[in-house]
Symmetry: C4
Subunit: 332 residues, 4 copies
């Protein structure tokens, strides 16, 4: 079977992953409307292709918060990579470094930050965190990430509670016994402790986070101009427009639609990124044309891992890169 | 089988109810366009979720006409609960009381008002009535309801004649011999007598109803700003925006769409509620955001009854409550 | 099998008619887009139902060109009724008279005008005609119709050539040997002679037609305000908004959409009717609410004939009548 | 099987062509959205049919760049006709001449220009070219075409690189060994050499092309008003609005939609044509009504070839001609 486009990897993963793992990765909240809208909204956007421009040489490199990446596609934070591939996040880190792009490691990794760092020294990585009820746990994670050379902190803002993903409830989803959420001080056994995150977090906690670290803070989960304005005022360095892959509140906006109003509100004061629904190189081009500095892929990265570990993830990134370059050329 | 969301109860009911009962509950008028539109219209409404608000404590209680309920979801009046569960409306009354919410008992109950009251003393209940050609029958019902402690009278305005529900015609729907519409003086055997309701009822009959009782009058079936204005002027205390679950005139508006214009016309002078198409907690949130004080569920309550009687109905209500609270948190 | 709504008759006809006859009646031009749009356009129109009006007595009679009919639904001109039922147009005439409504007999009837008249003396009938290359043939038909007591002449304007109905071409459609287009002087054997109609007909030919008869002239096939204005100026007494059931030019407007602009252009100067896509009593109500004086049904009448001849057609009309009355009541 | 409309030929070709050839002809870029949009966009355009006009005589001839054709449908440039029929482009040339219309021969023909010319002397033909990295190759082609009596040069502007057609990648598409791209000096074996075309071509290269030939230059692949203006300013004689059958950049505009803005920008200064999505005679009428001077068909011509070579292609053209004439008559 030739792996020609990202949906080939999706088909593979659906076929070969254990059902409980596939369901977990695929899950959207409630009716999965927003998960699917992320993709449909991209399709509604149409190019106006221009002809006879010299497209013999194209530079697709970009910089995010000052670090150069080979093309504007990074790896979004997703949990539990060992569900997709035995080496888990270590493979992800290696693939991202090999392709010279940015990998946002999740708090809910099945490898420690130290293992991730050791697997791919020198790679560009950001660390994604939640604010826990136990603030010391969060603080300790920030310090570790900074010490290990992570170059950005991504605060996820859209998960005061976990969204209702019906299949996970039906499956009674939990991690298999041999996997752990290793990054937290006392490694949780069997998946997410239900009440570890702090639902009382507010914008003021950005200041608290700021006080812990010199790393740039990127806020993830912004979907409205009002929150974009608040994010800028509270001093973040970047915004990831995201709806958590449609896994939190169902029937909110598609991210590519929300991107437009966020970019407009931000007026260039901080960098804006987007995740959700990227399935083709032309989606990347659309996001950039609408003001994103870079996009991040979630599920497609997991499909790549499921296919062949770091090699499979590189395949996914390479396909996106080729498609992105081709669509730039064809759009003029 | 895990009961995770309301459509699980729907699937169960479809599978285990006698076809004639399922068809009766599921029926919409003509092509069932409006029945289905009630649901589709909810899906077209999108949230603008806000982040980083303190959602650690949320109060979801509300008051309808002065009575507190634990969350803004009541039980809409539907007929013939014994078709769904042997104890019929007695189970409904118990479940509503257990969940501390309001139950609107239908004229076409298969238990008497007295049985319903005795089943769950102290529960918050309203009584739904039609105006019969035999006014004495209606008057007697109002008096009984008032005496039994019902705290509101819901006048259904959209059924001068019964809508054309094709499956009921095909099935020759009638109640099984052992069930009766017990509330009327001379209990009808076998379902609805075709010409018992008075199609000449007009707005002036609100005054007549007013003269019979000190209970608040809620009018059910309003879909336009014009009728909302008339309802207010005729002195009702509440309006239920409803299209009878799409069982009366097909191809009218979805209730959530009609709610917007009714709320605008009413300008806060009376309370406005809505029924039709509520299938998730986020639907409740949408209705409240658009101005409803509370919503009522019809078919989902019947599915709950069909599943496990009062326990099943409590499950349905509890799921809606949890989903409602979660969607409030996630929407900020 | 209970015949509850018009689509039950459609199902029956599809099942029991010879395929070649079913295909002929069902055919639309090209991709059948307009044929289907006629129905879809009705569904897009929504009611604003009003409540608490006295609907105990409703008068659904109306007058068209001065003749009273029992409700505003007549029989549109369609050809070859013997394909649906042995007695053909004689049955149609009897059913229309029994239901006290208007039947527009087609030039392409399989019974003569004389047979039709004799079958149901005293029934309200109009005669539909084309203008033939052989004007004497048209003139002779007009005279016969007038002499037989037909009370209107319906000139079909949308068939200078026959539309391309793919299934008819595939089937090599022609009438069976024992049926004939009996109304023309020399009865054609086997269906339509390809070049009998005159494609050079223009508005001025209305004057020619006017000179032949004192009957009111109704023009059928108008879809634009421009042509509606021309029709009025050329002195017709009525306009049937029609696209020939979607059998002529595909991808023109649905008739109910075209009705709106025609009614606006006509400003009450002549009566306006509509055919195409009427499947429920509520469609009739919509057409009347948008300005039609009466509607005509084409295929549903044929389904009724196919079911049980005149009795089946009466069933169809009676269902439409009941549904129309009910939807009037429910819409207030 | 009767061949009644173009989709009959499509069905035939899908059934009888080798899968690799069918896939190649059918392929669209990426998700095939634009390929399918070309057709859907035609369907969204509605006629406003006018009645009672004299349509007994209709002249459907037209002139393109001064040459008369029998009706406004030509053959768009498509490659590899031997994949559809053994005689390849020779059959195409014969059919076009027999129907007295224009055939645009592709650079990627499997017959030489000389063979094509010899097959149908005197036929109206244009030659389609790309600009190769090896400019001498392009120049030599232009000279040959001019010498052979081709009457126009069609420069394809939308293929700096080949679009991503997933099925071709999966199939490892290449020409069978016995076919060659014969027109290029050193005939390529096995399909397209990946880097033969020059992606650095810009508008100034029109001047270079102008310097090589006195033939009119038609630019193919324009989709925006901006590029239309540039094309006119750079002195082309004609514009073909085209998205390469949806085979290049996916999710750009449908050609019939783009036609509107191109025609508006051009303001009659040069002739405008369109290809993509023509499947019925009424599509031709729509394109002309929106300002095209003529349309070109791509895939339908290949289906005709696949059916019966030049005879099959004539069938396709004849059907389009008949449908076009009929739709003109019915639209008034």
């Amino acid at each position: 079977m030739a792996m020609v486009c990202l949906s080939d990897f999706e088909d593979y993963a659906k076929k070969y992953l254990p059902k409980i793992a596939w369901d977990y990765f695929a899950a959207g909240a409630d009716d999965c409307t927003t998960r699917d809208e992320n993709i449909l909204a991209f399709k509604r956007i149409r190019f106006r292709p221009r002809m006879l421009r010299d497209v013999s040489v194209m530079d697709i490199r970009t910089k995010i918060l000052g670090s150069e990446i080979s093309f504007p596609v990074g790896i979004a934070p997703t949990g539990f990579h060992q569900l997709a591939w035995p080496d888990g996040e270590k493979s992800t880190a290696r693939a991202a470094r090999a392709m010279n792009t940015c990998y946002i490691a999740s708090t809910y990794s099945t490898c420690t930050l130290e293992e991730i760092s050791a697997a791919a020294p020198g790679g560009l990585r950001w660390f994604q965190l939640y604010i826990h009820r136990n603030r010391a746990a969060s603080q300790q994670l920030v310090r570790r990430a900074e010490a290990l050379g992570f170059r950005g902190l991504v605060l996820t803002a859209d998960l005061p509670y976990t969204g209702k993903r019906r299949d996970d409830v039906r499956n009674g989803f939990r991690l298999p016994p041999h996997m752990k959420v290793k990054n937290l001080e006392q490694a949780f056994e069997y998946g997410l402790p239900p009440n570890s995150l702090d639902p009382s977090v507010t914008w003021n906690d950005i200041y608290w986070l700021r006080s812990l670290t010199r790393l740039p803070i990127i806020i993830k989960g912004i979907l409205t101009r009002e929150d974009a304005e608040l994010a800028v005022r509270h001093g973040v360095q970047g915004i990831i427009v995201s709806n958590h892959g449609g896994r939190q509140l169902d029937e909110g906006p598609a991210t590519i639609d929300a991107l437009v109003e966020v970019v407009e509100a931000v007026r260039g004061r901080v960098e804006v990124y987007v995740d959700g629904g990227i399935r083709k190189g032309s989606d990347v081009l659309k996001a950039l044309a609408l003001g994103a500095k870079c996009v991040f892929i979630g599920r497609p990265a997991l499909w790549g891992l499921a296919y062949k570990g770091e090699e499979g993830l590189q395949d996914v990134l390479r396909i996106l890169q080729d498609e992105f370059r081709l669509s730039m050329a064809l759009a003029g």
